[in-house]
């Protein structure tokens, strides 16, 4: 049974002000109903200001990154009418398509729109917060080109990567909203709303496909309807059938003249666009000869990819790539931050890797320094100096540590001599501890063996 899946994805744009007024967009940091004005609360007599150019440019950039054609005809802003407490004017403004006929990761992009977010309504308390009202959104509509929840998930991951690449969507995350259409051969199309993460989309699709298959197995009809995804229970629940579908009574907003996007504007924005992640990945493999897995991970974040290219100018590319994939990513994931947020610079990485290459610090020290970089936000050399982590060169100090370790652990020495070779590793560990990791482990092993065997 063939499964068909399509998406409508909404993501907030990273503008300073709202779409039709000058109220700030940092709605999460502000107490309820403080980031508002007459316009975004729909006061009687208020009129929209000219549409926020920063938001229009963002949508053009995103549409171009999704390989869309930009619409050259007048683009009307429509009023979509519906009655809900979070909608202060009784309509939501949404543009006609700005981009059309795009493609990403084998999925056709039908349309890219600009929209305004409604406020936030809490049905349990009955409270409405208009701080979010009027925050600009991009809406991306795909063709039903995906055929399994896994494929759908891969597409969303790729889309999120591309959106982040443009630098035009909000960075803090958690603002994405997804509606999905899913149907099984022989059944009607079902729309699922209220999904707000990639994982949620995956689970909703998994559940919904099973539900539809079960219906069909029992000879029941899958009817055309809109369902809601309930995050807490990981199920979908019927909202309304086709007959109950709302008529939004779209009209061009008489308060807003249509947008006209010029060829110059498109060229100007094109010039600022980064290379797409999948193209970057390909180039890294060819240009730097690094492993394809490394290239994929490095290209997952634009700033990280840029940093890699800087580092690879000085450091052997595969070393740089391995270090970024293993160590940089480990530290970022541990802290739950992006490379951009970490404050780590290419210069830091170069300095650190050079210290390793010049045998001035051990690998273990380098890893420790790596962990400290996001917190210290200073150069590796300073961190090493501050913590006294420089590799011990004077053999006497290492020798002293070896002697101490041997004296303190007669049992281990005995074990080694009686044939338990791994007991020596324990002693190496003790020496490393005494020298706070600054000794060269290979050297220590050699010195310990000499001493124990010569005993």
């Amino acid at each position: 049974m063939k499964v068909t899946i399509g998406f409508e994805i909404h993501e907030q744009l990273a503008t300073k002000t709202k779409l039709f007024c000058n109220s700030p967009t940092n709605y999460r940091d502000a107490p309820p109903n403080t980031n508002v004005c007459e316009v975004c609360t729909g006061m009687p007599g208020a009129k929209p200001m000219p549409v926020n150019q920063e938001a229009v440019d963002a949508v053009i950039a995103i549409a171009l990154m999704l390989n869309c054609e930009i619409v050259k005809e007048p683009i009307y802003i429509l009023r979509k009418h519906y009655d809900y407490p979070d909608l202060p004017s009784g309509y939501q403004r949404t543009s006609m398509p700005i981009g059309k006929n795009g493609e990403l990761a084998g999925v056709k992009i039908w349309e890219v729109h600009l929209e305004e977010d409604p406020g936030k309504y809490d049905p349990t308390t009955g409270k409405v917060d208009y701080n979010r009202s009027g925050v600009p959104l991009v809406e991306i509509v795909t063709a039903p080109d995906m055929h399994s929840p896994e494929e759908a998930r891969e597409f969303l991951k790729e889309l999120v990567k591309v959106l982040r690449y443009t630098g035009r969507v909000r960075e803090e995350g958690g603002t994405m909203r997804v509606d999905t259409n899913v149907s099984i051969e022989g059944g009607a199309r079902v729309e699922i709303k209220n999904i707000n993460s990639i994982r949620g989309a995956y689970r909703a699709l998994k559940f919904e496909i099973t539900r539809q298959k079960n219906l069909m197995k029992r000879g029941r009809v899958v009817k055309r309807e809109t369902r809601a995804y309930l995050e807490s229970q990981m199920i979908t629940k019927g909202m309304r059938t086709k007959e109950e579908a709302e008529d939004y009574r779209y009209i061009p907003d008489p308060d807003i003249p249509p947008l006209l996007i010029s060829e110059e504007k498109i060229e100007e924005i094109k010039a600022t666009l980064p290379e797409a992640p999948h193209l970057k990945e390909k180039r890294f493999i060819e240009q730097y000869g690094i492993k394809s897995d490394d290239a994929r991970i490095i290209a997952s974040e634009l700033e990280l990819a840029n940093a890699f290219e800087e580092v690879a100018k000085v450091i052997p590319p595969q070393l740089a790539a391995t270090w970024i994939r293993d160590e940089v990513k480990r530290v970022l994931e541990y802290n739950g931050i992006t490379f951009k947020e970490s404050g780590i610079t290419p210069a830091h990485l170069i300095e650190l890797l050079q210290l390793v290459l010049n045998d001035e610090i051990t690998l273990k020290t380098a890893k420790k320094v790596m962990e400290l970089l996001p917190e210290k936000r200073t150069s590796p050399k300073k961190i090493i100096e501050e913590l006294g982590l420089k590799k011990l060169r004077e053999d006497s100090l290492v020798a002293k540590a070896c002697d101490e370790a041997i004296a303190e652990n007669p049992k281990a020495v005995e074990d080694y001599l009686s044939g338990k070779k791994e007991a020596l590793n324990f002693l190496v560990g003790q020496v490393m501890r005494k020298t706070r990791g600054r000794a060269d482990p290979a050297k220590v092993l050699e010195m310990l063996r000499e001493r124990v065997e010569g005993k």
Partner: protein, 451 residues
Amino acid sequence: MGVIEELQSGALSAEENVLRFLEAIEARDGEINAFIEVNPRAIEEARAVDEKIKQGRAGKLAGLAIAVKSNINVRGLRATCASKTLENYVAPYDATVIERIRREDGIIIGMTNMDEFACGSSGETSYFGPTQNPAARGRIPGGSSSGSAAAIAANFADLALGSDTGGSIRNPASHCGVVGIKPTYGLVPRYGLIDLAMSLDQIGPLARDVYSAALLLEVIAGYNPKEATTLRVSQQNYTSKLSADLSGYTIGFAKEFEEYAAKEIIREVKHALAKLEAQGASVVEVELPSLDKALPTYYLTVFVEFFSATRRFDGRRYGYRIEEVCGEEVLRRIMLGRYISQKEYSGRYYRRALQFRSLIKKEMLEALSGVDLIAGPTTPKLPHRIGESIDPLAMYAYDLLTVPANLAGIPAGVIKAGEVGDVPVGIQFHAKPLEEQKILNAMYALEGGRA
């Protein structure tokens, strides 16, 4: 002009000026019902202006009392739209036109009565009761800026603001025998004007004479960065360019006007045109063959836009859900708007209305291309008696000659041409976009101003 000079010379203080209007309102507005609310701080504000006059730093409107239609936000006063829906809505901000009036030291004397949500052409649909025509007692003052026109006619204020979507300034100006101007769409900021039909609404002045109408217009006109439909027009100076010399002016008269307007009204209009010819203008015939399409085009547009505009009055913020408390005419427009904006009908009605609108606009601009002005009647008939029952279509028909200017987005002005019996009749002038000066000059000439 007398009052303006007296105020500026100090012969009359702003306080005295405001006080005499407040007294007149107190004494006579019980009969006229021009005001819904007077500004309790008017005297206080006048005193502050008197200080500025003394210091020689007062603005153009210093001390003039200005009545404001109740669909314009004036901070601290109720913008009720003459509806129970907004009965208790106290405006929390000033409309841009009000900011501009305050900057020039005009004093808001009060909020005027009107047809509910500007839906009407008679002044009878107000939740606060009908307004009397001070110039023709017993008759309607016209609408929807009924209170603003009546306040001027009854001498309750120096100047008034109205709004005009399909004639709501010009219709009552004609019936009450005062001057009224509907500016070019986008010339005067709409920010703070509560919507009837957003693509047609314009705020404009009402006054007893052309000079003061021009003065108020130049204060409120001009580019407003706060709205998207504003025109990029700099500060205007109509008063200094006022001239009654019409030599070189060609004025068009459309023969279709005679089909639609009563004979006695046409007679007064032609009489006025003859006076203008005497002042140098030449009168020619023009054609407006699509005039018959203007009314349905206009009303379909209004129904849909008004339906959309009223969705915010859902009962959650302003006390009442509009459909539950509004009058019959407002409800009719909302229901019709809801009906024709449905997905299955929008192609048949709303889209067609937009197409006809382009056609009418093209035709008006073509007719204007060979002339400076098109002059004609303002309303097809004389105002009816208050309380006389007339059906909705007959009421809509009042607007037949005023809606083309809104559909085309062009300026139009009305001034008294004469009287039929004791009832004033206004002549209407249309001009090309942003040629308000020509309208003002023609009206100035008719008024008998100096050349």
